[in-house]
């Protein structure tokens, strides 16, 4: 059974702030879904290779040519906060 601490740990990894009510609801729901998923443990998958993609395409190559890119200003237009040509975020390095 998934514990409250597990949920808190995963929420931190996922960068999701959960309030107390959400936390308990999430715990119960994840527990029910994981119990359903646990049916996979009954299957014997010894020697079965994993499938990561439906179509086995590998190393699609193209010529290394310079082509026009999007204008920087256009790509920055959706930024929630910017300074000139930079994204602005809260300070991450102490003085």
């Amino acid at each position: 059974m998934i514990s409250r601490e597990d949920v808190l740990h995963v929420a931190r990894l996922a960068r999701l702030e959960l309030d107390d009510a959400e936390l308990e609801k999430m715990r119960a729901q994840l527990d029910s879904i994981l119990t359903y998923i646990d049916r996979l443990k009954a299957l014997d998958v010894t020697g079965v290779e994993p499938t990561s993609h439906a179509v086995p395409l590998v190393n699609v190559m193209r010529d290394d040519e310079v082509v026009p890119s999007f204008p920087q200003d256009e790509m920055l237009r959706n930024a929630p906060d910017r300074v000139g040509e930079l994204f602005r975020v809260p300070r991450i390095i102490e003085d």
Partner: protein, 481 residues
């Protein structure tokens, strides 16, 4: 009216793209307040594109069978200069700087974008109730859901608020709403259609495909969007056939497999009856039908609910409040900013999937869940490989039940079980279609599914067309004003 009839009428001069577009816009204005199929209606954009199409028809030089076709696009497909929300507060004000390849290709074929269709947030859901903005109602019964996650475009096509549309299918999100709304929905082979400009959910599972009033339109729309794209390295270089031209070949001589595992306990008996009656029709058209077994099927849904959330948790990591989308102000550091932004921007279902995906990928659980699920995915694929050694196509029910009521499936797991017959084609990447095959006694549509070999959309469409032409279901319309 289906697109192929509408554009024939344009060619004969009986109507014009502008007249048709204005009629659709008027119908949207009248009905969509109640239906909720659209998140954005692109009126000016549509009328401009229609006027351009008018001029081409006047000059006798239309671009092809889609020129002037008024369409609805799921709001997960990027449209240059037009808000693309993915049904989420996170992207409420996101305006893409480019068009998805599918949007650009349809524009180049002359299609008219009427607007952006409602959806479950980030395509996670089976009812369109998880849209952050509003629910969509089923045109056949407004108390019921249209299915999801592409419920908006499916309902729009069913209600006559668009002539056709585009959705996406990661775990049934085109075919299940097509079945619930009584329209045709096609999920092509993985890699058949470029995903450049599709906002990613589960990258090994995401597909783009058409909604249509009939199979001919689905064939025309697929032809326009399919084929290699230098901007998507997962898009296959295989040549794209003229699907519409191949439709009249009929079912004679085709071998169809009916999988035992797609008739389960708890399935609606009306669906069981409708699908078995459809199989009799198919047999009467000259196909042979034999029982096949796809024994990994009972494990497919659990496998999907490991793989899809795992991929989603990774794809949705990009919504951190830095580059685009929502940012909650006032945080002291970067982690707090991201964590608060994601708490405010994502709805409950998206949070649940991110949590589940993060859990199954986290240290100590990765192999037990994700590693094992990838192996079971191989077993699902092997089942189909074995069946396709004996038959050309699989025929099966699309859903275990008809459209349910709003609020009926509050338990997430009960909602997930709706897609039990849909997810195997996503996990294997095989082409699959849902085509109307009857109605419940309450008048709710039922869908029949054909699943084909990789890249055999032609076979899937041909079977669906033969069935459609032999039955009256696609001609029925919901009783709307």
């Amino acid at each position: 009216m289906p697109i192929h009839e509408l554009t024939s009428a344009y060619r004969r001069g009986e109507t014009t793209p502008t007249a048709a577009t204005e009629a659709y816009l008027a119908r949207i204005a009248k009905l969509d307040g109640e239906l909720g199929a659209y998140l954005t209606v692109t009126r000016e954009h549509a009328l401009r594109a229609a006027a351009d199409a008018d001029a081409r028809y006047r000059a006798g030089t239309p671009l092809g069978p889609l020129d002037g076709a008024p369409l609805a696009y799921k709001d997960v497909l990027c449209t240059r200069g037009v808000t693309t929300t993915c049904g989420s507060r996170m992207l409420e004000r996101f305006v893409p700087p480019y068009d998805a390849t599918v949007i650009a290709r349809l524009a180049a074929a002359g299609a008219v974008m009427l607007g952006k269709g409602n959806m479950d947030e980030f395509a996670m859901g089976s009812s369109t109730e998880h849209s952050a903005f509003k629910p969509t109602r089923n045109p056949w019964d407004l108390a019921r859901v249209p299915g999801g996650s592409s419920g908006g475009p499916a309902a729009a096509v069913a209600a006559g608020l668009a002539a056709g549309g585009l959705g996406t299918d990661t775990g049934g999100s085109i075919r299940q709403p097509a079945a619930f709304c009584g329209v045709v929905g096609l999920k092509p082979t993985y890699g058949r259609v470029s995903r450049y400009g599709l906002v990613a959910f589960g990258s090994s599972l995401d597909h783009i495909g058409p909604f249509a009033r009939d199979v001919t339109d689905a064939a025309l729309l697929l032809r326009a969007i399919a084929g290699a794209d230098p901007r998507d390295s997962t898009c296959l270089p295989a040549p794209v056939p003229d699907y519409a031209a191949g439709l009249p070949q009929g079912l004679k001589g085709l071998r169809l497999g009916l999988p035992d595992e797609y008739f389960i306990d708890g399935m609606d008996p009306e669906i069981d009856r409708a699908v078995r009656a459809a199989v009799d029709v198919v047999r009467g058209l000259g196909a042979t039908v034999e029982r096949v077994s796809l024994p990994a099927t009972p494990h497919a849904l659990a496998t999907y609910y490991v793989i899809a959330p795992a991929e989603a948790s990774s794809n949705l990591a990009r919504y951190d409040g830095v580059k685009y989308g929502l940012r909650v102000p006032g945080a002291r550091d970067l982690v707090e900013m991201s964590s608060r932004t994601r708490a405010a921007g994502f709805g409950a279902e998206v949070k649940r999937r991110i949590m589940l995906g993060t859990y199954v990928l986290s240290a100590g659980y990765h192999e037990a869940y994700y590693g094992r699920a990838q192996k079971v995915r191989t077993l699902v694929r092997r089942d189909f490989d074995a069946a396709f050694g004996r038959v050309d196509l699989i025929v099966a029910p699309m859903t275990p039940n008809v459209a349910f009521k709003h609020g009926e499936k509050e338990d997430p797991l009960a909602m997930y079980l709706n897609d039990v017959f849909a997810v195997p084609a996503d996990m294997t990447g095989l082409p699959a279609i849902s085509v109307p095959c009857g109605f419940s006694v309450q008048g709710l549509p039922i869908g029949l599914q054909f699943i084909g070999k990789a890249l055999d959309e032609a076979g899937v469409l041909r079977a669906a067309y033969a069935y459609e032409q032999a039955t009256p279901w696609h001609t029925r319309k919901p009783a709307l004003p």
